[in-house]
């Protein structure tokens, strides 16, 4: 079966051999590192802008209004204008704040989520670093972000920030458990933690289709947990505008605020990319049984498009949640996790293990 006619290992190999033909070995390594660094930075900046624009447009159309529509074509210039404005703003460090911690917090929050981008498989052979513990790396790195949030809340010396950070910490930490269990259930099925192997295990069908009910349950729990980990509505009581103004980043302004904003969207992308890779087959095209013609047509769509399409579909669902469900209270939020989602995902994991050992999936 040809899985995608566009194989990016060929492209990367070509770049490597082209560079090697012209330079010495150390220089090739340096050039490649610089290229990779530039790619990451560009990708992060463009991705955040696209996501902010999408968010505003989705929000607008859900409320029957236009959204940004003045700057540029269909308001696409609005995000650039906003970024420029944020760059030119003054970054205030309030008097009561712990100066070092206050400036360190946005640093931790953003750099951890940029680091989590490394093992994500964007396409066939298009991965920065195909690590053998890929999913474990992502879960461990993204969970470091909560430290930055707690530091931000504590160092601001503001009651709203403190409360927001506490709520956010408790929430992220709790929902990480069931998200972790859902990830493990796919690791059980795929037998590997490496992103490329998880994607390859779905060559004959995405896990959500061939995993029966338990995988669908795991997918739903993962989406709920991801929404909660991102502090997004209906679980946005860490920032709850009407009660805490902005939660842990109340005191931040200018570029420091932009860092938190950027981190939020990069994190959203990372978690949705995880969901797309684990449950929806990553960059694998959509195939139906023995419809050879249909499958061949699907193979012609490049793999990064499949990956981004799936990821943006999940991002759209998460944005949709925001305008559909009312905000929970903090005790309801923790009840939902500890009394429902955690036991359900534990039992679900055992079901998947049993199903796999008896060979009940396709």
């Amino acid at each position: 079966m040809i899985l995608s006619i566009y194989n990016f290992t060929l492209l990367t190999d070509k770049i490597h051999s082209f560079l090697s033909a012209h330079m010495s070995e150390e220089f090739v390594l340096t050039t490649e590192l610089v290229l990779i660094g530039l790619l990451i930075v560009t990708f992060v900046a463009v991705l955040a802008m696209v996501l902010i624009y999408t968010e505003r447009k989705v929000a607008a159309y859900m409320q029957l209004r236009e959204g940004p529509n003045r700057v540029g074509i269909y308001g696409t210039g609005q995000v650039v204008a906003d970024v420029l404005k944020l760059v030119l703003k003054e970054g205030i460090t309030p008097n009561g704040a712990d100066k070092l911690m206050f400036n360190l917090a946005p640093y931790i929050v953003l750099s951890t989520c940029i680091m989590a981008l490394a093992p994500i498989a964007f396409g066939n052979g298009l991965v920065l670093w195909d690590l053998n513990i890929g999913v474990l790396y992502i879960t461990s790195i993204t969970s470091l972000g909560v430290i930055g949030i707690l530091i931000a809340g504590w160092s601001s010396n503001n009651k709203y920030s403190m409360l927001g950070a506490m709520r956010s910490g408790a929430q992220i930490v709790s929902y990480e458990l069931s998200a972790g269990l859902c990830i493990i259930s796919i690791v059980v099925l795929a037998g590997s933690m490496q992103m490329s192997e998880i994607v390859n295990s779905q060559a004959d069908g995405w896990w959500i289709f061939k995993g029966h009910l338990p995988v669908i349950v795991a997918f739903i729990i993962f989406i709920i947990a991801a929404t909660a980990e991102l502090n997004r509505a209906p679980f946005d009581l860490a920032e709850a505008e009407s009660e805490l103004t902005a939660g842990f980043h109340t005191e931040y302004s200018g570029m420091k605020f932009a860092m938190f904003f950027l981190a939020e969207y990069i994190n959203m992308f990372v978690l949705c990319a995880m969901a797309a890779t684990l449950f929806l087959g990553g960059w694998m095209p959509f195939h139906i049984g023995h419809w050879t013609t249909f499958n061949n047509v699907m193979d012609y769509i490049p793999s990064p498009l499949w990956f981004l399409g799936k990821t943006f579909f999940i991002i759209f669902i998460i944005m949709w949640f925001r305008w559909t469900f009312p905000r929970l209270r903090v005790d309801q939020l923790l009840d939902l996790e500890w009394k429902y989602l955690l036991p359900i995902s534990m039992i679900n994991l055992l079901m998947i293990a049993l199903m796999n050992i008896l060979g009940w999936h396709f």
Binding site: G37, I40, V41, V44, L88, K89, E90, G91, I92, T93, P94, N95, G96, P106, Y107, L110, S111, T112, I114, M115, A118, L128, W129, L131, N132, Y137, S156, N157, N158, K159, Y160, S161, M162, M166, G169, A170, S174, E176, L177, G180, I184, V188, G191, M193, T245, G254, M255, K256, M259, D331, L334, D335, W338, L342, P343, L350, A353, L354, N356, I357
Partner: protein
């Protein structure tokens, strides 16, 4: 699946790229913006109300309890990762062991819920 420390070298590069990107933007924008610091502006923002006292006060113990419970259950999740990878080799006996492990943890969770550790009055 053996890996040497050099396989984890990209983590260092990724770290430098991330830290460098954030550092350079923060450093550059530090010099761009205006700097007009007044006493009122540097006060903590509390919706226009005069702020009273220090914000670093004791907080609800429930948050602490949640964090402690998280540590317990997260260790359990970490234990599950190696099991999940070697799951097919371990076969039925491995599954039964895992059932026992998860069963004990579920008992612990039920105990925590029944003892009211997660109730917010």
């Amino acid at each position: 699946m053996n890996s040497t420390p050099i396989d984890f070298f990209p983590i260092v590069i990724q770290f430098f790229v991330a830290a460098g990107f954030v550092g350079i933007t923060m450093f550059a924008t530090h010099f761009i913006g205006p700097k007009l610091n007044t006493r009122k502006k540097l006060k903590p923002f509390e919706s226009g109300v005069q702020s009273v006292g220090n914000a670093r006060q004791p907080f609800a113990i429930k948050y602490f309890l949640t964090a402690i419970l998280f540590v317990l259950f997260d260790v359990e999740v970490i234990f599950l990762y190696p099991y999940a990878v070697n799951f097919l080799e371990l076969g039925m006996s491995g599954l039964i062991t895992m059932l026992l492990f998860m069963g004990l943890l579920l008992c612990g969770l039920i105990y925590v819920i029944r003892s009211g550790a997660l109730d917010w009055e």
